[in-house]
């Protein structure tokens, strides 16, 4: 096994792993606050990618700039989805709530998938910019600009999120709600509003990941399920509600998948899924246990 091939593979895996982490963080945040698992998260990511794609195709806005309107649009969509679909569930008993939110997320994913095919066809799309092929080499290893930027961006966003959660009042309110929603309510925290903003934030994070995917990789309507699964795997690896760990676990998953391609080829997805099942069975609280922030 050529060391260079291995290293290159690892690098590409880390790049995509950063996106897995970004996708997972959104999912984890939402679960922590609302105790609901949004299995349409991948579809929100897909939508974010498409918004960026169309901003680029129609208005020639650079995708890294289009990140902002894309994030904004998904923030609004997130708020709407929360108010319309998930908020009515908030009052239910925990078990029923989780089950119903799973079902609603499921229905939503099908609806979005279908809508995307209808609006934009099932074809793959990709944003091609001037600098798409640029990159630099170090020790004979290739570092494509866009994918590297993706990792950098994901890291920045997650660091910013951590700052938000630890330094701002609203961020602390989110953490408090995650740890003990009843006590949080007793502090005067508006749980409904906190949940809504968290959900919208989750959608925004998904949109950002989707944007990077549209530039560095490719988007198509069916990618939702794929990305939801990746996010689920990462979230389970890191432990539900663990945000910092989610990023690390994402990078880990990306690296493992990429390297295993060298050994088991097209079964690399299976490797991730098998690890997922093992963790579910043996350590449902994740590899990194349960903590926040």
């Amino acid at each position: 096994m050529n060391l260079q091939v291995l290293a290159q593979s690892l690098i590409f895996g880390i790049f995509v792993g950063g996106l897995y982490g970004l996708a997972a963080v959104g999912l984890s945040l939402v679960f922590g606050v609302m105790k609901m698992l949004n299995v349409a998260h991948g579809e929100l990511l897909m939508l974010g990618g498409y918004v960026t794609f169309w901003f680029f195709s129609l208005y020639h806005i650079d995708p890294f700039l289009a990140l902002l309107p894309s994030a904004f649009v998904l923030f609004l969509i997130g708020m709407g989805l929360y108010k319309g679909l998930f908020s009515p569930l908030a009052k239910l008993h925990e078990e029923v709530k989780i089950k119903n939110s799973l079902l609603i997320g499921f229905g939503l994913s099908l609806v979005f998938h279908n809508l995307a095919i209808r609006l934009w066809t099932a074809d793959e799309r990709s944003v091609s910019v001037l600098y798409s092929g640029w990159g630099f080499s170090l020790f004979g290893l290739r570092f494509p600009f866009i994918r590297l930027s993706g990792l950098v961006l994901a890291t920045i966003v997650i660091l910013a999120l951590q700052q938000f959660l630890t330094k701002t009042y609203f961020g602390k309110a989110i953490r408090a709600t995650t740890e003990n929603w009843e006590s949080a309510a007793l502090m005067g925290i508006n749980i409904e509003k906190t949940s809504m903003i968290s959900f919208a934030l989750g959608a925004t994070l998904a949109a950002m990941a989707g944007t990077i995917v549209s530039v560095g990789y490719a988007i198509h309507p069916a990618m939702g399920l794929e990305w939801t699964l990746k996010a689920l795997i990462v979230v389970v690896l890191a432990g539900l509600g663990n945000i910092g760990g989610a990023f690390a676990a994402g990078v880990l998953l990306g690296a493992v998948e990429s390297v295993s391609t060298l050994f088991v080829g097209p079964y690399m997805e299976v490797v991730g899924l098998v690890i997922f099942l093992l963790v579910l069975e043996l350590r449902p609280q994740g590899l990194f246990g349960k903590s926040i922030g």
Partner: protein
């Protein structure tokens, strides 16, 4: 200040409170006593909004509150120090206090209030960066009380403040509660230790099986035959 009139509360199909009525006047300190599972915690939860009653009214400073959201009631000046403290275990002592001051009223004088809490409970200042979940039982109770004070409440509710604490610590906590009341805060508390509760408070209500069965001046209750037999019998003098 607080008027509860004929409220009924159920957990699903299981009714827990039947036509509960009582009142707490401003600056009073009132106790709810009674056996485990009688409905005392349920009552406090209903006052704060964690549970919604069917039938009956809850009035705070004249305003009807039964339909109000929890956070709104806190803004109106009701604060609860929950059973089991209800702290945010992963967050630091200071952060727990800061969150107590989440309301506008609390935020406006947050720094001042924090200093006051440190004066009441000096040990919390030493622990301010420490995660709340790692504090000792007594420290946690102090933090819970301190946090309850951060919103500058008019009415402070306590659910079993001496639970799990040594007699010495319980005494300290009770002194603090007395001090808080003297500073002008109305207090309604639930307490297992009936003697302490009756010695500290002005009036008390006895709750049994989801109903109020006795009420009156705490001093009189201490001498009441039924109370002595039911709740003070095992007390060593």
């Amino acid at each position: 200040m607080l008027e509860i009139e004929k409220i009924n509360v159920s957990y699903g199909d299981l009714q827990a409170l039947w036509d509960i009525s009582f009142r707490v006047e401003e600056r009073e300190i009132v106790a709810l006593i009674g056996p485990n599972g009688a409905g005392k915690t349920t009552t406090l939860k209903t006052i704060t909004g964690l549970l919604k009653p069917f039938g009956g009214e809850i009035r705070f400073e004249g305003m009807a509150m039964e339909k109000m959201a929890i956070h709104k009631r806190v803004e109106m000046g009701i604060s609860l120090v929950p059973e089991g403290r209800g702290l945010f275990p992963g967050m630091s002592t200071l952060e727990n206090l800061e969150l107590g001051a989440f309301t506008d009223k609390g935020r406006s004088c947050r720094e001042e209030t924090i200093e006051q809490v440190y004066e009441l409970f000096p040990i919390l200042k030493n622990r301010k960066k420490q995660a709340a979940g790692t504090l000792s039982g007594g420290e946690q109770q102090m933090l819970a009380i301190g946090r309850g004070l951060m919103s500058k409440p008019k009415l402070l509710l306590f659910d079993e403040p001496s639970w799990g604490l040594s007699p010495l610590l319980s005494k300290v906590i009770y002194e603090v509660i007395g001090q808080i009341n003297h500073s002008g805060v109305t207090i309604l508390l639930i307490e297992q230790n009936v003697r302490m509760a009756l010695e500290l408070t002005n009036r008390a209500y006895v709750v049994e099986n989801g109903r109020i069965v006795k009420q009156g001046d705490s001093r009189n209750m201490l001498n009441d035959q039924h109370i002595r037999e039911a709740y003070l019998g095992t007390e060593s003098v």
